[in-house]
Symmetry: C2
Subunit: 189 residues, 2 copies
DNA sequence: TAGCTTGTTGATCGTTGCTCAGCAAGCCGA
DNA sequence: TCGGCTTGCTGAGCAACGATCAACAAGCTA
């Protein structure tokens, strides 16, 4: 043979996670098989288990990567000043994220709530970080009650935006205004 | 042997679904194995496949049973007049349902959003029925926009109540008032 | 060239979803 | 009592998948 491609550990790891990210949108989390990932990477199953001790670890890594993408997309970009840093900006970017990466995002959310505790933990971490940033942006103290309300507001937003993208029953601006209105209602300043 | 217990088809079916309902709260949906169910029922795996063509069909049947329980609990009871028939009554009963059957309810919701399309369909049916009843109870027309909002409100309620049950950050009455307030805000009369 | 590190594989195992041929329990008519 | 029918039920076995392990080989360094 012409010699197998021998990659560095980091390279291989990144490649495998990347394949997971590409497969995630089209494949239900539970149907994503190690065999398929290994086949796409052109390696044996054994090697994947060398980098990730178990299937769960692999899924968790992929989920974490997806969360990082979302996170990076939600933060205000330094290059885009103006309405970037407020809550309105974050809501706007969130809707934009779902509009652009709808499949990936739904897979992320579903995979998170679907069974596996390790994956759910990654999702919970991301949500917690978002709550923290959200409350800070709103200039409100971070207590248990507000945390619950913000988390529930996320659930509301996720559900509504996911539906709205499929069937836009109102203008984009109205959706954003409605979300902002509900949030203000829940957390009066 | 003393002769195996030979049941009628309906009996056996009901027994298997019942075992699923009992196992659901303590076992993540994906870890629930046919072997375990068959063992608890004292039958062979083969027989379970005789009644349910596939694992999915079995899960769907169990999920449907759980949905029926929820549904029956949410409808106003004829014997309990007073505040039973309005939206407040339904919200009250929903909170009560989650308080009492928290584990089962979380398992129901998670199982619904976790991967399997057949199970998700059962969940979607239940939600649709609830939206219909909700809008009718509110005396509002049933259009696409309102449907989306009510569904998103369900997501909000599910999330908030699930958290609140674990850590009650406000009195029960305040929770109910808040839910009602948000609903009125979303669907002004 | 020898030797070490480490990326990589093939053989193999246990579990699990699923199939299939056939057994056996109960009921019926003669 | 006997034969025959329906149908609840089983056991052997297959394919797919997650996971393990001993061993090979690519590339660097001395």
């Amino acid at each position: 043979m012409t010699g197998r491609a021998r990659r560095s550990a980091d390279d291989r790891r990144a490649q495998l996670v990347q394949i997971g990210l590409e497969l995630l949108p089209t494949t239900p989390v539970q149907e994503l098989t190690i065999d398929e990932v290994a086949r796409r990477a052109g390696i044996s199953r054994s090697l994947l288990f060398h980098y990730f001790p178990s299937k769960r670890d692999y899924y968790a890594a992929v989920t974490r990567a997806a969360a990082e993408l979302l996170w990076a997309h939600l933060l205000p970009r330094p290059g885009t000043p103006g309405d970037g840093s407020g809550v309105d900006g974050m809501l706007d970017r969130y809707v934009g994220w779902v509009e652009t990466f709808r499949e990936t995002h739904l897979a992320f959310v579903r995979g998170a709530s679907g069974g596996d505790p390790w994956v759910a933990e990654v999702y919970a971490e991301t949500r917690d970080r978002l709550v923290e940033v959200g409350l800070r942006t709103l200039g409100l103290p971070d207590d248990a009650r507000r945390r619950q309300l913000v988390l529930a507001f996320f659930a509301f937003t996720e559900d509504l935006v996911a539906q709205w993208v499929l069937e836009p029953t109102m203008p984009r601006e109205e959706l954003l205004a409605l979300l902002r209105d509900v949030l203000d209602r829940l957390l009066p300043r």
